[in-house]
């Protein structure tokens, strides 16, 4: 049965779009049929991260307003044949999206895909509430930093009250994905620990993605990091997270600093 998964955070710049692309590609590689949907109307970027920016003809708003059919707006990934993108509009604003329009699109996507990943815009306004509205599950992307954790807490409150599932007395299944984790700073006690974040948010952990140049490199060339360099630490962390979404039990690995003791002694400040 199709699952609608919203990737959300409240705060901007924490890695929602990167995570949507990486997890979407990883789920597709496991054999599922996946669509990633950009809800960031007016500031779309998922097309760029997926490397499909030049192939956008119709978008979410066109479909919601009946200007285009869903099949005309969906873009098939060039690398994976069971991965698709539904881009957001770049020219319209968030008010062009209506609850009813989103409901119809999600319904239609449910009949065609195994996974529907909704990339939420930052904030708690209309775009973000519509992105989570029909979700079965949610990934709350959180950085180990006070403002991000505070916003995640707020978003968890919204997932528990403003979604269709919540209104029906059910619960959106929530997962915390910790991104931009810096092992060196964690070791020095300069960064909120994983345990601190999980205790404060009281939500299960889906994965820990280390801060990495690999992610920047993947976005430069327009490829999900899980496709661009499947062997790198962040891609492996995203792949594990995708398998956990599918119900597999995989031991959680906390990224550690790769430097050896002697290097640490000498190069501590450079870290």
């Amino acid at each position: 049965m199709a699952k609608v998964l919203v990737v959300t955070s409240g705060k901007g710049g924490v890695g929602k779009t990167t995570s949507t692309a990486a997890l979407g590609a990883a789920l597709a590689q496991n054999g599922d049929k996946v669509v990633v949907v950009d809800f960031d109307v007016g500031l779309r970027n998922l097309d760029l991260i997926m490397g499909a920016e030049r192939r956008v003809v119709f978008d979410l708003i066109n479909v919601a307003q009946g200007v285009a059919k869903l099949s005309q707006a969906l873009i098939r990934d060039k690398r994976l044949e069971n991965l698709w993108l539904l881009p957001a509009s770049q020219t319209r604003d968030k008010d062009a999206l209506t609850d009813e329009g989103v409901r119809q699109i999600i319904d239609e996507l449910r009949s065609k895909f195994d996974w529907i990943l909704c990339d939420s815009p930052a904030g708690i306004e209309r775009g973000a509430t519509l992105a989570m509205r029909y979700a079965d599950e949610a990934i709350i992307v959180t950085n180990p930093e006070v403002s991000s954790v505070r916003d995640s807490d707020r978003i968890i409150g919204m997932l528990d009250s403003k979604t269709v599932k919540a209104e029906q007395g059910e619960e959106v299944k929530k997962h915390v994905l910790i991104t931009r984790y810096d092992p060196a700073r964690a070791a020095r006690g300069e960064m909120l620990s994983i345990d601190d974040i999980l205790e404060i948010l009281a939500t299960p952990l889906l994965g820990i993605i280390p801060e990495s140049q690999d992610i920047l490199r993947a976005s430069n060339v327009g490829a999900p990091v899980t496709l661009n360099d499947a062997a790198c630490a962040s891609a492996r962390a995203y792949n594990d997270a995708a398998r956990r979404l599918n119900g597999e039990t995989i031991a959680m690995t906390v990224p550690v600093e790769r430097k050896r003791f002697f290097e640490r002694l000498l190069g501590r400040r450079a870290a």
């Binding site: 006070v146 505070r150 807490d153 020095r188 006690g189 909120l192 601190d196 002694l265």
Partner: protein, 93 residues
Amino acid sequence: MSINILRMFSRRTSSAPVARERLQILLAHERGQRGQADLLGILREEILAVVSRHVALDPEKVIVRMDRGKSVSTLEVDIEVPNDFDKRIAVAS
């Protein structure tokens, strides 16, 4: 480099525990407030509806306030009624 080594041995106080404590206090407060605005709005509407069935009220003079204490919270309902309200009931009935 000598500074680096010094740093290592001079137990630098880490900032993460401070972050954790600040967050816990802040979120305890914010979670308490969450939904409270709605709850008070609903209470106010319903109290107003019930009371105004019997007393002519100025909706502006109905104040509903909630105070959250550590162990007990109080709900305060303050309704100002006109002096001749009982006469109006007599007329109404």
